[in-house]
Symmetry: C2
Subunit: 232 residues, 2 copies
DNA sequence: ATTGCTATTATGTCGCTACATAATAAGTCA
DNA sequence: TGACTTATTATGTAGCGACATAATAGCAAT
């Protein structure tokens, strides 16, 4: 059909362009949805959908009765996709390798307990492992696993399958916290990753929970040069 | 009213729980929207909205005619909010300070040109500046600004207002690319940030565009200890 | 067997209506 | 004047119907 319908995406783009072109400035109030629908000759629900998308992308704010406003202090919102390490390596065309470094039960430091929301110190399972790309160390993970919420992990042969992979396949989570930062490689880490002590490592720290019950906390140290790319 | 309506969020949560509890496994096909709507006694549009949300969060995949499937290789999707540096500092209760380090026109290295999608080398404006929190260096930014797309920047007194702030307020972008990585502090950087040479810095590199026309490329070096937190 | 058409199926999108809800403004009574 | 109530307003959500679209399966002709 030659006839173009007004899709909600076209409405969104139009409004976004108006904002980007400065026809609506930060803090400005936009017309009501109903008016927009009127001028654009479409239904209010279509405008609603468009507006909601702009809210999600951080460009506008809406309040009942208060109306729709362009955000005063714009934020850049980006989405990160964190894949299983094996796939990340394989999909970049390199060969994946895995190696368990150590496995033991121990009482973690308070900082770890705090991030997992555990009040009383108790021993957790500590699994350190190396993910290799084309035979070279790529990511080193230091992981604490809550044996109380995931006792099945004790039956898993972690020398053959990584905790990363097993957990994702077998222990779904409902919520997680991500922290990204940089850290100098310690002597031990440097040796394990075959780099120099003091090299700058990119660290992805992730704590996962199911219904507020902690599952695991993992620090992934990435090889120098590693970049995390986010999309708009 | 005591009567509970079935909201699309409740549908989403129910389906999500089914998946998380393993009642649907990775790769499994879910019932059709219409069937879901039937058993849950709600409209198909409500199911549609719920499903779309699960697609956005990376839990399921949908294809026309193909139906809805649980993703085989789950991904963790997180959202990053990047605020204006001044606000980031002020909202954490510290005093914001700003200092221009240098300003000049120069031809950037090819790596910079490439990231901005500029084919023929040409001079850009280079502005280095320091953002301070409670008087101490917090973020050092090395910025290239495209004077061709943003000539107005030349009239701005960058000793008083940061390019970060001016651009965000005055030069909207339609797209950007984010790269996160770790880097060792060079001698110069270390001196400017009052840290030791070789310290691990967290780098946020951002290139912004309007309609494929490059606006700016900025590398933000964050003080050791800086953490970027992402939300689920 | 291969190509091409057609029917089928499940999701995607839009319009319309109706009502819910939050925030505010206006009005009322002591 | 101040506290309480009520009306108004704009967004949020749900239902229903209709048609669009992509992917597939089945069938037919060569």
């Amino acid at each position: 059909m030659a006839e173009r319908k007004t899709t909600w995406k076209s409405v969104r783009d139009r409004v976004r362009d108006d904002i980007l072109a400065g026809r609506f400035k930060p803090g400005d109030r936009l017309p009501r949805d109903a008016d927009f629908a009127d001028t654009l000759n479409c239904a209010r629900s279509t405008v609603q959908r468009a507006m909601q998308d702009l809210v999600d992308s951080g460009l506008i704010e809406r309040r009942r009765k208060g109306g729709t406003h362009v955000r005063r202090e714009p934020i850049a919102r980006a989405t990160l996709d964190i894949r299983v390490t094996r796939l990340e390596i394989e999909q970049s065309g390199r060969e994946y390798g895995y190696q368990l470094i150590s496995l033991k039960e121990a009482v973690p430091p308070v900082s770890v307990l705090a991030k997992l929301g555990i009040a009383a110190p108790r021993p957790l399972l500590r699994a350190d492992a190396l993910h290799l790309a084309d035979g070279r160390p790529y990511i080193l993970e230091e992981r604490w696993i809550c044996t109380q919420t995931t006792p099945e992990i004790l039956q898993v042969d972690l020398t053959r399958i990584s905790a990363n992979e097993w957990l994702i396949k077998n222990k779904p989570y409902s919520r997680y916290e991500l922290r990204l930062y940089a850290q100098k490689a310690s002597a031990t880490t440097a040796q394990q990753m075959e780099i120099d002590q003091g090299d700058a490592l990119f660290v992805i720290e992730r704590a996962t929970f199911e219904d507020e019950r902690p599952i695991t906390l993992v620090k992934s140290f990435a090889q120098p040069g590693y970049q995390l790319v986010a999309t708009t």
